[in-house]
């Protein structure tokens, strides 16, 4: 019956880590041309792991909640961990998504994989 998991409600009501990390080590932006949802995720890397993540999001409430959950979830993850995340993992983590909300998991995975790409580029840049 409920259209949102408790976690999603909690997070879109009280969103965590709203905004942008200044001078981020990794940054990603994805947008869904169909539903119009947008997510900008930025992160600071500390010792090869996500130290802090912040998000700006536009879209349905489930997307906003998912985005907020993601910023807490990925703290402590390595780049490879981000790459390993898939839609099923996101869906589980947010406590389930109702039928019309699967785009939230897709967009979250897209932005996380893009973040990992960006992280790789910056770390390569740093290593040169």
């Amino acid at each position: 019956m409920a259209r949102f998991s408790d976690a999603i409600v909690e997070h879109f009501t009280h969103p965590k880590n709203v905004g942008e990390v200044p001078d981020p080590d990794a940054a990603a932006f994805v947008a869904d041309p169909v539903c119009g949802d947008q997510v900008r995720l930025t992160a600071r890397v500390v010792d090869g792991r996500v130290g802090e993540a912040r998000v700006l999001a536009h879209g349905c409430a489930a997307m906003l909640g998912t985005a907020s959950i993601v910023t807490e979830w990925i703290v402590g993850m390595r780049r490879g961990d981000l790459r390993g995340l898939d839609e099923a993992a996101v869906t589980r983590r947010v406590g389930g998504l109702a039928p019309g909300q699967s785009h939230c998991a897709r967009l979250a995975v897209d932005v996380l994989h893009a973040l990992a790409e960006s992280w790789q580029r910056t770390s390569q840049g740093n290593s040169t």
Partner: protein
């Protein structure tokens, strides 16, 4: 208003109902009448004393509805609500003229009950004129006049719009049709019980749950000799216009709601009270960051304030407010992945973005100034939160 039994709003400690255009709570007098009627259980068509007792309840409610709408009791046909009412008029007209075919006039801002029924009868070979509206959502009476032609079977135009509250110039619109000898149907579901609704001839649709009666019961008022094929067959209930054992409890509730609406309409401060409540809400919303009010300022139900927030999505605001114990509605009808923009707002010429951003706040006679203050505060906070989280932070 009593909060529903749900965990969510108890957590937020708040339950503010601002979705009265979707449905309204039962008034205590309506509940009491229905509870009392539960003891009577005859079939109103039965010849014996149980049947008579039930028939008396139905007759009393019929008189109440007739009094509210200024018609004769025999002109009231009870049915299952606004959708059945509108469908029975559109489809019933088309089936009555199935072989000759014909032409039906309606407007672009009607409720889906009217518009989809019209789409259906177009498939039966009828021609359709869907009249445009101006920026305030209003039909130009002159456009009705020029749409009429020899084969026109019906003009169906609503009184108050459910999304914006905009009122049509009913008197002018209906006169043009009736003077041309064309039956006029008015979907008065949103105005009945709030505004005085009078139609000297033709058809009128109301639904009890929009003015504090129960859901699933309504009435079609049939004035004059309108050719209409009935769609529910069986016994001779409702003077042969609508078969089926009467929804006695529902009808009793509708009657009690009509009584109470008539009392309210007769109160000297009815209009000023409505305007004070609606004005307070409207002004509060209009003054917020990024707000654009979509409901017209004049000739509009004051209880309804439809507002868009620049670059925000209406369905998101509805969900966020719901999580915070405030019940409102988005302009869009369905809640699928792709929110659909309101056909009403698009017909008024609003942009797709603005239509997708629409949120409808609707009050009832039970709404208080204090509740409005609280809703304004929560809404402002929510809108602010959404703006600060937006990737395109400008507005």
């Amino acid at each position: 208003m009593t909060p529903p039994s749900s965990g969510r709003e108890r957590a937020s400690g708040r339950a503010l109902y601002f979705d009265n255009n979707a449905t309204t709570p039962l008034l205590p007098s309506v509940k009491a009448a229905m509870r009392e009627a539960m003891a009577t259980y005859g079939n109103p068509s039965s010849a014996h004393f149980y049947g008579e007792a039930s028939a008396a309840l139905v007759a009393r409610a019929r008189a109440s509805v007739a009094a509210l709408l200024g018609c004769e009791p025999e002109q009231v046909v009870f049915n299952s609500g606004g959708s059945e009412g509108a469908s029975s008029v559109i489809v019933g007209t088309a089936l009555r003229h199935l072989w000759e075919g014909g032409h039906i006039v309606t407007s672009a801002v009607e409720h889906p009950a009217v518009l989809r029924a019209c789409e259906f009868v177009r498939g039966l070979g009828f021609e359709l004129s869907v009249l445009p509206v101006d920026g305030a959502g209003r039909v130009d009476p002159a456009s009705v006049r020029s749409a009429l032609r020899p084969g026109t079977r019906l003009v169906s135009i609503m009184h108050a719009n459910n999304e914006t509250g905009a009122l049509q110039p009913l008197e002018d619109l209906s006169s043009i049709a009736l003077e041309a000898g064309v039956p006029f149907h008015c979907d008065a579901v949103q105005s009945a019980g709030k505004e005085p609704v009078r139609l000297r001839e033709g058809l009128l649709t109301i639904s009890a749950h929009k003015f504090h009666g129960p859901q699933g019961v309504g009435a079609l008022v049939l004035r004059g000799d309108v050719p209409l094929q009935r769609l529910v067959f069986g016994g001779e209930q409702e003077h042969g216009h609508r078969a089926g054992t009467e929804n006695v409890l529902g009808i009793v509730g509708l009657g009690a709601a009509a009584d109470s609406a008539q009392d309210r309409l007769a109160e000297p401060d009815h209009e000023s009270r409505r305007r004070a409540i609606g004005g307070h809400l409207r002004e509060g919303l209009a003054s917020m960051d990024g707000a654009m009010v979509n409901s017209p300022l004049g000739d509009c139900l004051p209880e309804t304030v439809n507002v868009s927030f620049r670059k925000l999505r209406g369905d998101t605001i509805v969900d966020m407010l719901s999580a915070r114990g405030v019940a409102v509605s988005s302009g869009s009808a369905c809640h699928s992945t792709h929110p659909e923009p309101s056909h009403v707002l698009l017909a008024m010429g609003l942009s797709l973005d603005r239509a997708l951003g629409a949120v409808r706040f609707s009050c009832s006679c039970l709404t208080t100034h204090g509740e409005i203050d609280e809703v304004l505060a929560v809404t402002e906070q929510t809108v602010h939160q959404l703006y600060s989280a937006s990737p395109s932070r400008s507005r």
